[in-house]
Symmetry: C2
Subunit: 488 residues, 2 copies
């Protein structure tokens, strides 16, 4: 076998191992009896160790060098293979820059940090969590320095795990612009479009979710829809997409979360089949992935037109609600201290708080013990609210406890990119209002396939946004999307 064939075979193997890991993770959260947890942790540990070993093996470097040498001798690579080789080198070099002891220490500190976080949140006791957090910050900084490329700060290097190529400077630009405009809009929207409830019973929600997903192409032959404590999506193969949702009596979150997860699943399904079982055959970044879920959540499920479909499906399930009332409930604004229950307008403000603070933590500008006060100050400044407790403040999310820094920005970027893509899509295809009113999404799916999905990892976040929309990342489309909530 040639070096290229060997490389591609290893990439196929790693893709399959990633699918198996995803299956084991899905099963753990959806099917596994609780007493299986200990064995599952062992099994996932073995998969992670084998995957790491095969992904960082020295022979990959030998193959890459042989391919480079052949290229210098005039052996041209096919276009697809050029990207396979480019990403293979990037991933391999990045993974090899992390010493094994540091990787092991990161894993241990992540596990210990999550345990510590869980107890601290339960007891609203930040001080008990502070040492574990300090350890995670320190290790994240060390890790960032290891993987940093020329001139990158540790924080920017951390971003690369989720959104390769994203610049801290770019985030500062975008998020500070949002921070200047969005707080005022939020205060107006809170009054103008207050949150309402639509007390749909679970049976009606189930019926509506199933029927709506069927309209979007979710069939039993290649999808599963299950229930889990936290909604998520697993893609086990091109014909095997699995999304989960959850149902609370008298709430309608299930309508949003199922469309959100559908967006993630559709992205992976519509990647160019030629990329399957290569290192290019998955979504390119966290923020593009989140843009796909947010596009279906914010621009489809939360549109006034699609509310007619959702209301009709709820009615089929035995629950009557006027589309206008349903839509108002799906977009209503409320200033709450909790990110996961935030509305579409204030959601990015929650992320701004976290970006500001994690950047300061990693850069050493914020001592860990000052985090609670800094959190309260930022929430006051950006959302205008008083945080009632650390449990509902800086202890609400697991991410930092698990050692994840640089992950939060993708949540806000997802909202921004979704809005920017949606404006471009409507500019090219015309308003989607009539289609959405009839539950017709074929043209949306096709546009997304062509401009976003099919590329897989061949384009990084920024390049993809620019290619798809003809513009650099901007906040105006998102502001135009939320302004009506403030009556502007």
């Amino acid at each position: 076998m040639s070096a290229l064939e060997q490389l591609r075979e290893r990439m196929a193997e790693l893709a399959d191992l990633a699918s198996i890991e995803m299956l084991a993770g899905w099963d753990q959260l959806v099917m596994m009896p609780s007493a299986g947890a200990e064995a599952r942790a062992q099994q996932l540990g073995v998969l992670a160790r084998l995957t790491h070993e095969r992904a960082t093996a020295a022979e990959i470097g030998v193959w890459l060098d042989a391919i480079d040498a052949a290229a210098r001798n005039g052996e041209a690579l096919a276009e697809l293979d050029r990207d396979v080789v480019r990403l293979a080198r990037r991933d391999w070099e990045r993974a090899r820059r992390v010493p094994e002891e540091l990787a092991a220490e990161l894993a241990r500190a992540s596990a210990a940090g999550q345990e510590s976080w869980r107890a601290a949140r339960q007891n609203d006791d930040f001080a008990a969590f502070a040492p574990a957090l300090a350890r995670n910050v320190e290790l994240a900084r060390a890790y960032g320095r290891c993987v940093a490329e020329d001139g990158q700060s540790a924080y920017e290097a951390l971003l690369g795990d989720y959104d390769y190529g994203l610049r801290t400077e770019e985030l500062r630009r975008v998020f500070s612009a949002l921070g200047e405009t969005l707080p005022a809009l939020a205060q107006e929207a809170r009054v103008r479009s207050p949150r309402r409830t639509v007390a749909a019973p679970i049976a009606a929600q189930r019926a509506a979710v199933a029927a709506t997903l069927r309209r979007l192409g979710v069939d039993a032959a290649s999808w599963r829809v299950d229930v889990s404590a936290h909604p998520f999506t697993a893609w086990i193969g091109r014909g095997d997409s699995r999304l989960t949702t959850r149902y609370s009596d008298g709430q309608i979150e299930s309508l949003l979360s199922s469309l959100h997860e559908y967006g993630h699943a559709l992205y992976e399904r519509q990647i160019d089949p030629a990329l399957e079982r290569t290192n290019l055959g998955r979504g390119t970044s966290m923020s593009i992935h989140e843009s796909q879920s947010k596009l279906w959540e914010n621009h489809v499920a939360r549109s006034p037109a699609f509310a007619e479909v959702l209301a009709a499906e709820l009615a089929e399930g035995g629950f009557q609600v006027a589309p206008r009332e349903l839509h108002a409930a799906l977009v209503g604004v409320e200033l709450t201290p909790v990110r996961v229950s935030a509305d579409p307008l204030t959601y990015p403000l929650h992320i701004l708080v976290r970006f500001e603070l994690e950047l300061a933590l990693v850069e050493g500008d914020l001592p860990v013990e000052e985090l609670p006060a800094a959190w309260r100050e930022a929430m006051r400044r950006l959302l205008g609210i008083e945080v009632p407790s650390d449990a509902l403040g800086c202890l609400q999310d697991v991410h930092w406890g698990a050692g994840s820094f640089g992950y939060f920005p993708s949540y806000a970027l997802g909202c921004l990119i979704a809005a920017q893509l949606w404006e471009t899509l409507e500019a090219e295809l015309g308003s989607r209002e009539e289609d959405l009113r009839r539950g017709e999404v074929g043209a949306i799916q096709a546009w997304l396939r062509e401009h976003v999905h099919r590329h897989g990892r061949r384009l990084d976040t920024t390049a993809l946004v620019e290619r798809a929309t003809g513009r650099t990342l901007e906040i105006d489309p998102f502001l135009r999307y939320v302004s009506p909530l403030a009556g502007r």
Copy 2:
């Protein structure tokens, strides 16, 4: 790490990989959307390849030699480690004896053979299957010769994949004794205890299966019970046992098959926890495994006493049947050409046919093209029936199409060993009749744990039977179990 520690770590890894493979297989048959099949085949292929690579790696030999050398220098191994090392060497040497090209050829021929078999059975066209079968026989013979130990025939070597240490001679002895006695019993039982039906609706069966399994300790915290086309059991971890069953309206097979699968699951659950994540921590052989499923199927579910429990649970599910009538239906004898629907008495006769013929095929005494005629002759001789077609004759099972030779005997051995264990158990504990009438199985579970389950792979089939029952493998207990059906 010492050589022993490294060996034990590799064994733990292989145990985890086996669990992951089982999970992926379970998911495929129970949860996977059909369009996921192609990706799943790739994923299972990668798991198998990695497992093979790690199980046959040269370093295992280095560790084993170092451990042996240390032992010669007086470093005594703990008792458990002696068995770990003994089985590790046996497995490693056996696996290494198979050249890679032959292993690949076996896998290809197995896949092609199953395809060919499927079409041939559908069209009742043995001639279309004959070339693939001939290829499988030839490769099985070659494989058997590779793994044969001193003086073993190819067929005996094949047996070792399912029941290590089993002698062809021993099988001949046992099966020919059965062949002399059982056919006459079958003819009498056919008249005396004819098959009857109990037309329980599916809902009542479901309720009865769930309630009965709950009595046996099947709880949601560490078990799953699902439906699949063919009942089977997966053990993903000590606290994660998954059995499946199937329901047909107006039949009661589900009552038997769920208890059968429960027997497999209980075996794996009751292995000594100290063997977990070693190479000893699973059932020792196919025939001991089958003895555990048959013990619960034949000696519990088919007992007159337990019929009272089953009838009561069916009644709770809304279906009335007298225990005596239910019991008669669960044991009724019918001479059918099809193995999987055979009754407890005639079942081993179906295996005798297969043993005789697969032995002759592998030893070169039966040309493939003469198989259909030989099958008809054997069915006439042993069961006294005419086979209506090859589809219901020598094409009914997938095993030979998949390249499995030496597997069938374990089905009959399971029936024999179950009866022998049951007699010993009752001799030691007293008749189980009163307990079974009340659905009490704690003493049975405990006896099986102590005498069969806890050993894992530390004892091979024959040694385990002799240790547990104080006697070599014999047919009399089975004959005593089935004789009442013939009125003897």
